[in-house]
Structures are given as C-alpha cells and as structure tokens.
C-alpha cells in the first residue's frame, strides 16, 4: 500500500441495468506511481477509468483524488487530471495544432508557457512536421500520440490512459510508453489500462481485473513469485489437442497455449517433467524441448483468471 496515495478507490461499482460492469473495485495509487489496470476485454477497465475521470457516475463507491470525490464533485478534480479515452476522442476535422490549442485553451494554459510546452510535446511525439495536418488524416499511432499530447498540455498530476497502445504499430507503441515513462519520472501519477499482458511488466503496481473484480493487486514481481508451482514449457504438434490431453494429467494443474508451445503448471518442473512428457508421447503427441521456465505475468494472469472462473 502506498504511504501517501494520490488516488483512493473504494468499492467502486457501476451497473448498466442488470449488468454489473464494475463490482466493488478498491485500490490505491501512490503519488508518482505507474499503475496498471490489466485484464481481458470486458473486464471493466474502461468503465473504471471513466469513473476515475469523472465522466461516468458510479452506482456506488467512490474514487477520491486527494480527498476530492469523483462521484460527487468531479469538476473540482478535472483541472488536475487528464484522461484519454480508448476511442480516438479528438476532432478529426481540426488540425494537430488546432486540437492542441483547443485543449490548451480549455485548461487555461498561460500564453507565456504555451510555446515551450508545445515545442516539448512536438519533440516527444514527433508530430511537429504534421502540425497542419487534419487529425483524422493521421495514422493510428500518431492519433494516439496526439491524444496523449492533448492530455499532457496542462501538465496534469494524474494521467488516466485507456488502452493507449491498442491497435498501434510496435514503433509507435514504444514511443507512447517512452512518453508515459518520462512523465512518471517527472512525478506524474499514471493509471494505464491494457489488455496486452506483455505490457504489464512496465507497471510499478497493477490490478488484474476480471469481470469487474480485482483478482490480484501487487507489483509484477510479487505477482510472479506468488504463483504456486512451476511452469513447464514444451513444444508440441497439434497444440490444441495436446493441451486437452495435458490438462487431464493429474500432475498438471493448468495448461495454456503460447503459440506453438504449451505452458503447463506443475508442482515441480524437474520432478514432474519427464512423467508429463512420457504421458503425452504415449497419447500420440511429439513433445520436445521441455524445460522449466520462470512464470511470466501472463502465466500468472491465466492462472488467476482460470481459478476465478472455476470458483
């Protein structure tokens, strides 16, 4: 738990009719922390972020930014936060420069500081040469960088980003993360959601969301250590059928597909490995390159989500 949290989320709940999109989510985000909301589609990441940004009213619970209630008094917090929705939310029929100016005006950024801030944002985002291009004519990655630039123009204390790297090419993805890390280094607190498990290791701490609930809340390394058992990785033909067969073996607690490989959760990779391999071979598969590996966050998530679904 952070000692001096900037954001305290308490039992945040949002229902849409009969559907509960977010069910009693609680966590704290420390000042200057890069906090992740990780989970598959439909986990409640977007709904949670919308409530944190004060654009969606919680059904119950609250999120407090330094004591300001986002449920009751969101307007007071808005000058200090920035929110970037998952869907491109800028004006496609305005140019890059016009969008930036619009958001600078809305946040009353002093004229004297504008030039310096814009110059810095253009440098970060490499959008300088595209200043006069309509935002709608930018590539997906550039659109996201423009969205992030507009969000940063007023130097917010809290940055809320909803899947900023969704559908973005790898180069732009790296650029986006560079900007986020740079901001966090300068003391900005960031809450970022992602469905890409491989991005989860970037967070200082993260909450694993599934069906509107927090399944796990910790640092990435603590989450990795917390996994019971070990991971046995092996290559095989017909991975889907092999997964089926492997998951029926008594020693295998969980079997997951990673490309052409299987990740099997077993009590001990060295002790159980040969037996598992033999059993698969007997079942007509050709397993090879079996080796114990340290659990990735993805393994942890799959394990946790499967456990939650079984419960």
């Amino acid at each position: 738990m952070p000692a001096d949290p900037l954001l305290r989320v308490e039992g945040l709940t949002r229902k849409f009719g009969d559907l509960t999109a977010v069910a009693g989510v609680s966590f704290e985000v420390g000042r200057g922390e890069l906090f992740g909301l990780v989970g598959p589609d439909g986990a409640g990441k977007t709904t949670t972020l919308r409530m944190l940004a004060g654009v969606l009213r919680p059904t119950s619970g609250d999120a407090l930014m330094e004591g300001i209630s986002m449920a009751r008094d969101p307007e007071r917090a808005k000058p200090r936060l920035a929110y970037m929705s998952q869907r491109f939310g800028l004006y496609a029929d305005l140019t890059v420069a016009e969008n930036l100016r619009f958001y600078a005006d809305l946040h009353l950024v002093p004229r004297a500081e504008r030039a310096a801030r814009l110059e810095r944002l253009y440098r970060f985002s490499n959008l300088g040469p595209f200043k006069d291009r309509l935002a709608g004519k930018l590539s997906g990655g550039m659109k996201q960088k423009l969205g992030l630039s507009c969000a940063l123009i007023h130097q917010p204390e809290l940055l809320l980003l909803d899947e900023p790297t969704f559908g973005v090419d790898p180069v732009s993805r790296r650029d986006l993360w560079l900007i986020v890390h740079e901001m966090v280094e300068q003391g900005v607190t960031a809450v970022v959601s992602t469905a890409y498990m491989d991005e989860a290791e970037r967070f200082d701490r993260l909450a694993l969301l599934h069906q509107g609930r927090v399944l796990a809340l910790d640092t990435p390394s603590a989450l990795q250590k917390g996994l019971e058992g070990e991971i046995l990785e092996l290559r095989t033909d017909r991975v889907r059928e092999a997964r089926e067969a492997a998951s029926r073996l008594p020693a295998v607690r969980r079997a997951a597909i990673f490309g052409d490989r299987l990740h099997l959760t077993v009590p001990s990779a060295s002790a159980d490995g040969p037996a598992v391999e033999a059993a698969l071979r007997q079942a007509g598969f050709a397993p090879r390159e079996a080796r114990p590996i340290p659990p990735s966050l993805e393994d942890v998530f799959i394990e946790r989500i499967a456990a939650a679904e079984a419960a």
Binding site: R50, A53, G54, V55, L56, R57, E75, K78, P79, L81, A82, Y83, M84, S85, R87, F88, G89, L90, Y91, A92, D93, L94, E98, R101, F102, Y103, D105, L106, H107, L108, G147, C150, L160
Partner: protein, 371 residues
C-alpha cells in the same frame, strides 16, 4: 465562466463548420433557397382566373357584360362555348375555373326591367379559388348591373365607398409572406443547425474527452451557440435584403430593432436545438426531433399560413406556445408597419423569455456525463 474557454469552444465550432460543406449549405444556402422558393411559390392572390363564356343571348348587353369581366383584371376569357354540353368536359379537364352562362333573353329581360338571371359555374375542387372567383364575379356583375340600370341617367349614387388599405396597399400576399418567411425559416434553420452539434460530439466520441476537462456546461452551450447566432443574424440580413430587392417588400421600421429581436429569437431557437441535441445524443434522432418540434408548428400554427383567429380553440391555445407566432408579429410589424418597441414591447419581452428558456433548457439538460 471563463471567456477563454467560451471562445475556445466557439472558435472550434467555427473551424469545424468551415470544413463541413453540408452544415455550410444548411446555414447559408438553404435559407436563401427556401425564401426564393416560398416567396415565388406561395401566393394567396387570385388573379387571371380562367373563365369561359357560354353566351346564348348574343346581344349588345351580353357582350358588354363579358367585356366588364375581361376588363376587371381578375378574369381571362379563355374560351367561348357554343353549346351547354361543352361546360361539363371543360370543367373536368380544368380548362376553365369559371363558366359564365348568359341565357337567351338576357337583354330582353333587362330592357323590360325584369330580373335577368345569370349563371356562374365554378370548379369547386379548389374551394379557395372558387370562393374568391365567385366573389369577384358577383362584384363585377353588381357594378355592371348598377351601371346598366343607371345608363342614360346622370344620377350620382347615394353612397360611394372608397376603401383604402394600409400597410399593404396592393394587398399583395408576398408582402405578408416574405417577412413571415424570415421568421419561419429562422426558426427551422436555427434549431436544425444546433440540433446536430452536441449529438455529433457524443456520436464521434469527442464529448467523452471534452467532458473530462474543466470546461463548464454553460461554456459549452454558449460556445456552441455563439457562432450559429452570428450565422443566424447574417441569414436575417440576407433574407431581408432579398425580400426588399427581389420581392419588393417594403421595409419601413428600424433595422437595429429587427436585429435585436432577431438575436433574442435566434438564441431561443438555437437553445432549443441544443436542448434537443443534448437529450437525443444521436444526430438522426436529434434532426428528426428538431424538425417535428419546429417545422410543422411553425408553418401551421404561427399565423404564417393560416390566421390564428380562425383556428379552433384548441389549436389557438397551442399556438401561444409557438415562438414564431410572436416573431412573426415582429417581422411583419417592422417590415410593413414600421412600428417600434412602443408596439412590439410585449413581443420583445416574449422573445427575451424564449431566449432565456431555450438557453436554460439546453444548459440544464446538457450533461458532461456518459450514460
């Protein structure tokens, strides 16, 4: 409220408008088009009624009567019929709107001092024109018969009424229509224009982003309203100039007063559009709602097409809720009568109430919140 933020919204709205040909058409071309179309198409004046004559008397008197019809200016004699059997088919084809039948013995009866019957057959399928044509025909016959009776004797008629029409001396309906059109068009265009703006932002996802900024609801509503208010006033000026130059409608009042009251009226109509937009959250629904809320009531219940005085009580009661009703009094009053606030004070007050209501509705219903 921050002027910077308000102007930022207004400026953004203008930039978007400048790049959107469809909205530009709606804002500038449509009012002019409607004015020209309606201005030329709608006329309640009945002139040049197509008349046919079945003269069975063939006398000097019957020819004189036909001449009286011809020279009245209301009738154009399109045909002379030979037999009464031709009357039916002619009316069926719409070849004539009125058939004047002069029976045999017309002159003889007149000369003998007996009542001389005449027959006018009218095409009643257009009841309005038929009624007016009947009135004209009766007037022509009355004038002609009094002259015929008095012919040869120099008697001064005891009463010689001289009617004088004020404000619209020629009783030209376009003098009523054009100022009324300005009011009707402004109501429709204004509500249509703004009904799109908030709904569009919800649909495109830009509102979610805007809602997360400290911009206030009043700043958004006013910022979106201001550019369209300017456009609306330009439309009023263009329509008025067109009315005066193209349709030769007199403009006798104060242009400044017209602008002031137009600004109030437009603010109300634009606010109503924004209110609809905030409620609907979808462009298609918002446009339809704006059309329903403005087009029919304004066209039918404002007094533009039908006199409010002759409406059934229920419709007359509803018409009090149609803001264009009051603005119509303003435009007609300023154009034709040249009256000022001393007469239009009530309308001015009602315009102000409309403006406040429109704005208030828009601000109260617009939420910076997803659903």
């Amino acid at each position: 409220m921050s002027p910077t933020r308000l102007l930022a919204v207004a400026r953004k709205e203008l930039l978007q408008l400048r790049r959107d040909p469809r909205s530009l058409m709606l804002a500038f071309a449509l009012p002019v088009l409607l004015l020209i179309l309606f201005g030329y198409a709608i006329s309640w004046d009945v002139r040049d009624i197509r008349a046919a004559v079945l003269d069975q008397d063939h006398s000097a008197s019957s020819r004189d009567l036909v001449d009286a019809f011809r020279s009245s200016g209301y009738f154009t004699i399109v045909r002379f019929l030979a037999r009464s059997a031709e009357t039916g088919p002619l009316l069926e084809r719409g070849g004539a709107q009125l058939i004047l039948v002069i029976p045999p013995g017309f002159e003889r009866d007149l000369g003998a001092g007996r009542a001389a019957p005449l027959q006018a057959i009218l095409d009643g399928s257009d009841a309005n024109t038929a009624t007016i044509a009947q009135g004209y025909a009766e007037a022509v016959v009355r004038t002609w018969s009094s002259r015929a009776v008095l012919r040869g004797r120099s008697v001064v008629p005891p009463v010689d009424p001289e009617t004088r029409v004020w404000f619209n001396e020629e009783l030209a309906s376009r003098n009523m229509i054009v100022p009324g059109l300005v009011a009707v068009i402004m109501m429709i265009i204004a509500a249509m224009l703004t009904s799109l703006t908030i709904a569009r932002e919800w649909e495109r996802g830009t509102m979610e982003q805007l809602a997360a900024t400290p911009v206030s609801r009043l700043e958004v509503v006013l910022g979106k309203l201001l550019p369209y208010l300017a456009i609306g006033l330009i439309d009023v000026i263009v329509s008025s100039v067109l009315g005066v130059l193209l349709f030769k409608v007199p403009f006798r009042g104060s242009a400044a007063l017209l602008m002031l009251l137009s600004a109030c009226f437009l603010t109300g109509a634009l606010g109503l559009g924004l209110f609809i937009s905030a409620v609907a959250r979808s462009q298609v629904l918002a446009t339809q709602l704006a059309m329903i809320a403005t087009f029919l009531p304004t066209l039918l219940l404002s007094g533009f097409m039908f006199s409010i005085r002759t409406m059934p009580a229920a419709l007359r009661a509803i018409s009090y809720l149609v803001p264009a009703r009051y603005f119509l009094v303003v435009t007609r009053g300023i154009f034709l009568k040249g009256v000022g606030l001393e007469v239009l004070a009530l309308q001015g007050l009602l315009m102000a109430v409309f403006a406040t209501t429109g704005l208030g509705l828009a601000v109260s219903r617009f939420r910076k919140e997803l659903q």
